[in-house]
């Protein structure tokens, strides 16, 4: 039993890293643009397919192709922003959230259907030579692939943190997310900030997708499930806050894993969702967010 609990804790932390990574992009889009993109999971799915095809047709290892996927989906994010989300950002904040919710929901339908059309609805996964390798630490096995996923998530979060706090662009980003009108007045090119932030969020979703296609499997319909996870993590960390996303992600992963031990695998997600609702009721600002005025 102890081994089970320990292993579950490890599994929970590892999967939580991916949850955090997925949430990172969503938090960025929401924090900066005040846009809620429920098609975030579809971007993850597309990134996963990109890795899958790179691996299957060109034999490129998913960790090697990750930067390429990042760049490619960054471009796609730019496209999406210019074609779609740009129009949403023209309205004031309150309506922006509602409209982006709705529009991105339409985007979910479109992207999912196109994925079915071009990729078929079959499940895919990437199996590399090291897919089954694992470190053994005491009674616990730490699969290499999942550990690498956690590392990628942490690195991404740190990189983002560095970008936000140490670069000029990062300052512009933060200023925009706090008050875009004031930022515009101080000379920030808000549109450019929005564009890059959104594209970054898409790129982050995409590399999370690469990890998913490696550690789990992908198919056109996985998007909504991951979006929901990301949403939960973002809210847990605190809507609008970029801090502690990975931590919140790990928290979610742990809750699910441990719920599985005690209530059986059937209810792991339900427990997580209910706990989420409970936390939301008592502390809507999440773990790290500021209490709303």
């Amino acid at each position: 039993m102890t081994q089970l609990i320990l292993q579950s804790v490890v599994s929970g932390i590892l999967v939580g890293g991916i949850y955090g990574l997925v949430a990172l992009g969503l938090a960025l889009a929401f924090g900066v643009l005040k846009v809620l993109n429920v098609a975030h999971g579809e971007l993850l799915m597309l990134g996963g397919y990109a890795s899958f095809f790179a691996f299957t047709y060109w034999g490129i290892d998913p960790f090697v192709s990750m930067p390429l996927v990042f760049v490619a989906m960054f471009g796609f994010g730019v496209l999406l922003y210019l074609v779609l989300f740009r129009f949403v950002t023209r309205t004031e904040i309150h309506t922006r959230i509602k409209n982006s919710l709705l529009i991105s929901f339409g985007l979910v339908l479109v992207l999912q259907a196109l994925a079915v059309r071009f990729f078929t609805a079959d499940e895919r996964t990437i199996s590399t030579s090291y897919s089954l390798e694992a470190f053994t630490i005491g009674p616990v096995r730490v699969p290499v692939v999942r550990l690498a996923g956690l590392v990628v998530a942490v690195v991404a979060a740190l990189a983002l943190e560095w970008l936000l706090s140490r670069t000029r662009f990062g300052r512009a980003l933060r200023a925009t997310s706090e008050d875009w009108t004031r930022a515009a007045l101080t000379g920030v090119d808000v549109r450019r900030v929005y564009l890059i932030a959104f594209a970054l969020s898409a790129a982050l979703a995409a590399i999370a997708g690469s990890l998913v296609s490696l550690g789990y499997s992908i198919s056109p319909s996985i998007g909504l499930g991951w979006t929901l996870k990301a949403l939960i993590v973002v809210v847990l960390a605190g809507l609008g806050s970029m801090r502690g996303i990975i931590v919140a992600g790990i928290f979610l992963g742990l809750v699910e894993s441990l719920a599985s031990v005690w209530l059986g695998g059937q209810y792991r997600e339900v427990v997580a969702l209910v706990l989420f609702l409970v936390i939301l009721s008592f502390r809507p600002q999440g773990f790290f967010g500021r209490a709303h005025a």
Partner: protein, 432 residues
């Protein structure tokens, strides 16, 4: 008032809908007069004609016998669905090449025409597609792959009064509802549970048997049926179930199941996962570094994709409905074509699906007509018909005695290990 325009449009729409009523629907009993049958026997057309019967004289034959197939070509069951579709196509081609099916009512050899639709592994789409097909005057339905779509399909067929033949569903419960239009010559849970243990006892020497059994039961109707049957048969054959847990299909993490089974000392693991869960389970077992000496997975679907698992999937035993090595009539041609087109010997479900067409063609000939009920009765009366899966006789509940060979993944290939007399390889035990 400003709403007026809308109400008008709605009214017009309603009228259009009501008017469409008499146009395109075949299940309407007044159809016969309105639809024109232009296809005469000498003029083959590409569209199917509709059989009209005028009392007394030999009626004009349709240019094809239409069969409606609803198969998951995409989605979770796509792997198995592809096999099913292949079986249908191969059989229809073979029969048409031999001249088609003789229908006494028209005194003519009529070719079969297969119309396969994709239900995307979604039972709700299965139902709506079947309703659509019913309007197109098909003789019978051919089902897809996996219990959910068959459960929905069989009920719909019953309502529409059209015979429904399906394979790739082992849920016995479907056959206990008193359906008259549902036929499925495929291994069912009760027999499967028995076969597993008989095989184990037959292939493994007494002292070495994996007596500790673990069951990963999926939370579906089939899982609920087969799980307890496994338990019962384990007991009957001298085995002990030491681990038996349920999980929801679509789970991503099986850590607790795997570790629990390991802790309980499971030596024989039985599971019946919906794709891609089977894949995930074995992948995670590989990660966690545990695999019992005997592993049984009842889902032949994943045959092509299990190669992706590499060593984790090695030694897994698959329960299947058919294997070319069984050598029933028709196997050679099917195998040849499969090798040519797919680059490997015929997949398990291909044979079962092929047999359905054989059964249907035979039934139509015996019925002498394309009438739904007559064909249904003829199918039910099938007695010892020689098919690619062996001799078929239907029981009252629509099932039949069929082979249930087991295969094992050995060295990247699928080898037949049971029944022992037609085996191509010996069971590799314990699994590597």
């Amino acid at each position: 008032m400003r709403h007026r325009a809308l109400w008008v449009v709605l009214a017009v729409l309603a009228m259009v809908l009501a008017a469409c009523d008499s146009g395109d629907d075949g299940s309407d009993t007044t159809q016969a007069e309105e639809t024109s049958t232009t296809a005469a026997e000498e003029e083959p057309t590409t569209t199917a004609g509709e059989p009209t019967t005028t009392a007394g004289e030999t009626a004009e034959a349709p240019d094809a016998i239409r069969i409606g197939g609803v198969v998951p070509l995409t989605g979770a069951f796509a792997g198995g669905g592809a096999q099913v579709e292949r079986g249908y196509i191969y059989a229809v081609d073979a029969i048409n090449e031999a001249g088609g099916v003789y229908v006494e009512e028209f005194d003519a050899q009529i070719p079969l025409e297969l119309d396969v639709r994709d239900d995307a592994s979604d039972p709700n789409q299965t139902t709506s597609i079947m309703d659509e097909l019913a309007g197109g005057d098909i003789v019978a339905y051919l089902g897809g792959f996996a219990t959910p779509v068959h459960a929905a399909g069989s009920a719909t067929a019953e309502r529409n009064g059209i015979p429904y033949l399906g394979v790739a569903t082992s849920t016995q419960a479907l056959h206990e509802q008193g359906y008259q239009y549902f036929f499925s010559p495929f291994p069912k849970s009760p027999d499967m549970a028995v076969t597993v243990f008989e095989m184990l006892n037959g292939l493994v020497a007494e002292g070495e048997r994996p007596l500790n059994v673990g069951i990963f039961q999926e939370a579906t109707d089939w899982g609920e049926e087969l799980g307890p049957l496994f338990v019962q048969e384990a007991e009957n054959h001298g085995y002990e179930v030491v681990y038996h847990e349920t999980y929801a299909p679509g789970s991503t993490d099986f850590t607790d199941l795997i570790l629990g089974a390991q802790a309980a000392g499971v030596e024989a693991l039985l599971s019946l996962p919906t794709p891609p869960d089977g894949f995930a389970i074995y992948q995670q077992m590989g990660e966690l570094g545990w695999k019992p000496p005997f592993n049984l997975v009842i889902r032949a679907a994943d045959v092509p994709t299990w190669n992706d698992l590499g060593p984790a999937g090695e030694g897994v035993v698959l329960s299947t409905p058919w294997h070319p090595a069984l050598g029933f009539p028709g196997t050679e041609a099917v195998n040849e074509r499969h090798l040519e087109e797919e680059g490997r010997p015929a997949d398990p479900v291909v044979g079962s699906a092929y047999a359905l067409i054989e059964i249907l063609a035979d039934a139509i000939e015996r019925a002498g007509t394309l009438d739904h009920d007559a064909v249904r009765d003829a199918i039910a009366a099938t007695d010892g018909l020689e098919t690619i899966i062996g001799p078929i006789t239907f029981r009252e509940d629509g099932t039949a005695e069929v082979p249930n060979p087991h295969m094992q993944r050995i060295g990247g290939a699928i080898e037949l290990i049971w029944p022992a007399d037609t085996a191509t390889s010996e069971l590799v035990y314990p699994a590597p």
